[in-house]
Subunit: 400 residues, 2 copies
């Protein structure tokens, strides 16, 4: 029977935090390919080797700790947001390491570990696992740049001396990822574990209203074609109409707004904004798209505005593998009876990509007050250990 | 009796357009202190001298064409917007030149002329006349910078070889400025002239809603404190409540919006935006301020947002001098009976500043389709001449 050591797990987790420690709470600054990120991966490779795993970096810096022959794959990512928490990604990597180590020590099933590179999207979205899974071609990724104009090709060159080949995914029977929730549901309900049913689908596009740029002093209200007023009306309209369409889990966001010319004394001639919506149900995502396009067209037509839609990014919902998920639920019921639930993931994760290659599943532990992507991100250590135990229990069942 | 020559006036107006001609329609690119602006002012000084006026540049490059002894002052500005029309400012300067010239030729009253510098606000707002009138201290102006970081002190050094002393305003009995309307009212009504009753007052401030920056995938709608949603609600509320407060001439504008962090996948944690409103009535401006502050506080309180108001810029409405205005109205009724009106100015003008020093008045000619601050700005030449004749008629009355 697979027997993990919670103290060793927590020690490793705290040690990983020392790479790029922000000096603010438990926060870390460890973006992909930064010196602390590379140093952390080299330390992880050593810990894998100590555990009897064979470390292998792939060409983009994703680090695998492999056993020989077929195995289960556990892990997540060890890069952080520019201002990140200590658990986002790190938790799943160190939990995987502890379970792989314990499996070797105590005669559990063969387990390999992975820390994917650039999950936080310095160069895209879940870059390392997207490339590994074939979701993103390496040549395309190499041309992508970060906010400072550094290309992915330039950035990954910093790890060229460590790089090996891509790891053959056919050796893995499945993938499981422990992660913090990054939302408030478990924390609000005072539950310890969430077993993910599916990772939501995302629709994202830019919308532009074109009005007439004009003098804010001499243009009477009845003569204006104010692009910002178009945006405000559109926002009110979709908020109203979504009521009949959404579930409590559905979310939608206008997070980016650019007015032109963006001056106090000029009636806005153009408003470009982002419209993003997420849900686990493809049908609902489509119904929301219809509401959005219809509302924008009605507003444009009523206000005499031009309207254009940018390309729509569409990521389909990804259901978690039924067998792995059932194993996690059984384990949760043993380890934390009455203190777990099944739930959607509103965020993307490496598991989204890996699910293309093999059966994949995820479980969450609570984020205190739902805070993530911030130095203040945290989880009670008791809950971290509960998450580890639930995952270990599912692995130890042997049925996975 | 003062007798102007419309063809000479139009010839000079078209010649001035050749300085900084944009090559797009009749547009000009002649911002303050640019080589075309300085060249245009030197040409104007020559034309003034030819007309028997004594040209004098002041320390900031405003150009006066003076007669000896007491006189009436006519004029406007000859600098343009970065992408400007051929009439904005230029019309009032050339009309003043023609009337001063005609007055000397035909025995009219003594008339001096001015072209103020930087009315278009490369360094502030109506900079040259603001300094001359004492509205803006020269030392303060010298520290102001344009969008490229050039200081006013550096820019005006380009005219140092031309600069004389500040002109003593006590020699002028009054100021009259002919300008294009820059709005649609005269053009819509097919009228030729508007006599300005007052220049509207302006209130302008920044407002900030502080919410909670959060993950757009994992933060449920009921847990969000979305600063952009606060702005949208505020906008709807003031639009509704202003109905009971405003007149058809009142205008208000949200022209600038900055979200933070302004990303597709992040619930906006902060929204800072401009709120500007204009009206001829100080009482109404105050009632609107109350609506704005109350609405912002209600929205913030209902949505759990922080709220802060920036400093409020307040420019009081400036009524035009009753005697000068009456002379303009009498003249308009003679020159263009049934084709003129009295109206507010929604834009600031040099007359706003000059009114601190002496009786001041303004008249407008139509802007075709209300277009201004654009290459496409234009006015029928017949209307330009009508404006000239109305102004000349008021000057020739001798009562001004």
């Amino acid at each position: 029977m697979l027997k993990v050591k919670p103290e060793r797990f927590l020690d490793d987790l705290h040690h990983l935090r020392s790479f790029g420690a922000a000096g603010v709470g438990k926060g870390v600054v460890r973006p992909a390919y930064s010196p602390p990120d590379i140093a952390a991966r080299q330390w992880l490779a050593e810990r894998m080797a100590e555990a009897g795993l064979r470390p292998q970096f792939d060409p983009v810096g994703s680090l695998f700790g492999l056993v020989d022959g077929p195995s289960l794959l556990l892990g997540s990512h060890s890069d952080s947001q520019p201002e990140g928490g200590w658990l986002d990604g790190a938790l799943g990597v160190i939990a995987g390491l502890e379970i792989a180590r314990a499996a070797r020590e105590t005669g559990g099933p063969p387990v390999s570990v992975v820390s994917f590179q650039d999950e936080e999207g310095r160069f895209g979205v879940t870059t390392g696992s997207a490339i590994w899974s074939g979701n993103l071609a390496l040549e395309v990724a190499d041309r992508q740049t970060d906010r400072m104009g550094v290309s992915f090709a330039e950035a990954r060159a910093a790890m060229a001396h460590l790089a090996g080949k891509f790891v053959d995914p056919s050796q893995f029977s499945g993938f499981m990822e422990l992660h913090i929730e990054q939302g408030p549901w478990l924390s609000e309900a005072k539950e310890a574990v969430g077993i993910v049913t599916d990772i939501v689908g995302i629709r994202d596009m830019r919308i532009t209203f074109d009005g007439e740029q004009n003098h804010a002093g001499t243009t009477p209200m009845h003569r204006r074609r104010d692009a910002f007023q178009g945006l405000a009306r559109f926002n009110a309209l979709i908020n109203e109409r979504f009521r009949n369409v959404v579930s409590p889990q559905t979310v939608w966001t206008i997070g980016h707004v650019a007015l032109h010319p963006d001056a106090h004394s000029i009636v806005p001639g153009r408003a470009t904004f982002s419209m993003q919506w997420r849900d686990g149900d493809t049908e609902r995502l489509s119904r929301m798209e219809t509401v959005i396009r219809d509302a924008a067209e009605e507003v444009a037509s009523a206000a005499g505005l031009g309207l254009s839609f940018g390309d729509m990014l569409g990521l389909e919902p990804v259901p978690m593998d039924a067998r792995l998920r059932a194993a996690l639920c059984e384990s949760a019921d043993t380890v934390a009876p009455g203190r777990w639930r099944q739930m959607q993931s509103g965020a993307l994760h490496d598991a989204t990509n890996v699910a293309r290659l093999m059966p994949a599943a995820m479980l969450f532990v609570p984020s205190i007050n739902g805070i993530s992507h911030a130095f203040a991100e945290d989880t009670d250590e008791a809950d971290l250990v509960t998450g580890l135990m639930v995952l270990a229990g599912a692995v130890g069942r042997g049925s996975v």
